[in-house]
């Protein structure tokens, strides 16, 4: 019984406070001040960093331009056009590693074909036009879905999903926008 009580007391003693040596008081005070300064600078850096990146990213606009069917024969289906990344605002930053993924769907939203385009650097204070050439033949699609190719060839309506991801390498930050749009001939 006494033993149990003793062990309880020792647990209480262990948990109630940290027993540092009295001589370490000066060192602990300096360490806590150093950590406090690190914390203040860290939170300040975090705040300013986010303000700069958020403001520069908010000014970026991505538009599509001159999208149309490109193929002239019976064997291929093609869509071509430009994507314009507007990064010309004065508070802009260089964009690194822009990835555009185009995916073609049937009217029943079945995935048919996709293509990825990568651009490494998009300089600040400039509008950059990225040419997209999205051409595919029946051999690019599974043989079982040949019927799908024919129906896609005949249809007036193509559903294309764009997935755009932009990364600021310096800022270790990325975001992705996924747009689903109907493109009529």
């Amino acid at each position: 019984m006494l033993k149990k009580k003793m062990s309880k007391e020792s647990l209480a003693d262990k948990l109630s406070s940290v027993k540092f040596k009295e001589e370490s008081k000066g060192f602990r005070k300096k360490l806590s001040i150093f950590i406090l300064i690190t914390l203040v600078l860290g939170y300040l850096f975090l705040f300013l960093f986010n303000v700069v990146v958020a403001v520069s990213a908010a000014g970026i606009r991505i538009d599509t331009k001159n999208f149309d069917r490109s193929s002239a024969d019976n064997e291929t289906i093609g869509i071509e056009g430009d994507i314009v990344v507007r990064n010309d605002h004065w508070y802009s930053l260089d964009i690194n590693d822009l990835v555009i993924e185009m995916t073609l769907y049937t009217e029943d939203h079945d995935k048919v074909y996709d293509k990825k385009i990568e651009k490494e650097v998009l300089p600040r204070l400039k509008n950059t036009e990225i040419k997209l050439d999205f051409t595919f033949s029946s051999s690019d699609i599974d043989s079982e879905t040949n019927e799908t190719f024919n129906s896609l060839y005949r249809t007036d309506k193509l559903i294309v999903k764009f997935e755009v991801s932009v990364r600021y390498t310096i800022y270790i930050m990325s975001f992705a926008v996924e747009i689903e749009a109907d493109i009529e001939e």
């Binding site: 948990l15 109630s16 940290v18 806590s32 950590i35 690190t38 975090l46 270790i172 990325s174 689903e180």
Partner: protein, 161 residues
């Protein structure tokens, strides 16, 4: 017998209870019921469950005095809870962001009949915040507390009396 008066800081206990009730339950309740009653952006049930978790854990975090081992351990638990919030989301400590992964903000919607989904990866930010919180926890552990100069402890002692 365990003397709880050695451990408990009544001021931080009530401060944390009130703060977590306000920021974890009351503000989210009024924000969601007024701004997003149909639950387009926020899942009301998730927010409320997260709010209750936050009230419980953050209140526990405030029970014990600084420079105690148990407070340090609960502080470690609090950081684990924050990791949960930054993964599940929709809580005050994730700025009410609807998360779909660790430090990953996701929103789906429709603008002019065009489906748009937006994802924003802020995992690096979460890691930095968690590291800073961990540093603060260590600071509370090592900082020499001079009780006479420390207002919270003085007030807490008056409560105990």
């Amino acid at each position: 017998m365990i003397k709880t008066s050695k451990w408990i800081n009544w001021v931080t206990l009530f401060r944390n209870l009130i703060a977590s009730l306000i920021f974890g339950l009351i503000i989210p309740y009024f924000l969601i019921t007024n701004l997003d009653p149909n639950g387009i952006l926020f899942d009301f049930n998730t927010v409320m469950v997260n709010g209750v978790i936050m009230v419980v854990v953050y209140t526990c975090y405030g029970i014990f005095k600084k420079q105690t081992v148990i407070r340090f351990l609960i502080g470690c638990g609090w950081i684990v809870t924050l990791i949960y919030f930054y993964t599940i989301g929709s809580n005050v400590f994730t700025s009410y962001l609807p998360n779909c992964g660790f430090g990953l903000f996701c929103v789906d919607g429709e603008i002019e009949e065009v489906k748009i989904s937006f994802a924003f990866n802020y995992a690096w930010f979460v890691v930095v915040v968690l590291c800073l919180k961990g540093l603060n926890l260590v600071r509370h552990l090592v900082k020499p507390v001079e009780e006479r100069k420390y207002d919270y402890l003085t007030i807490s002692k008056k409560f105990e009396k």
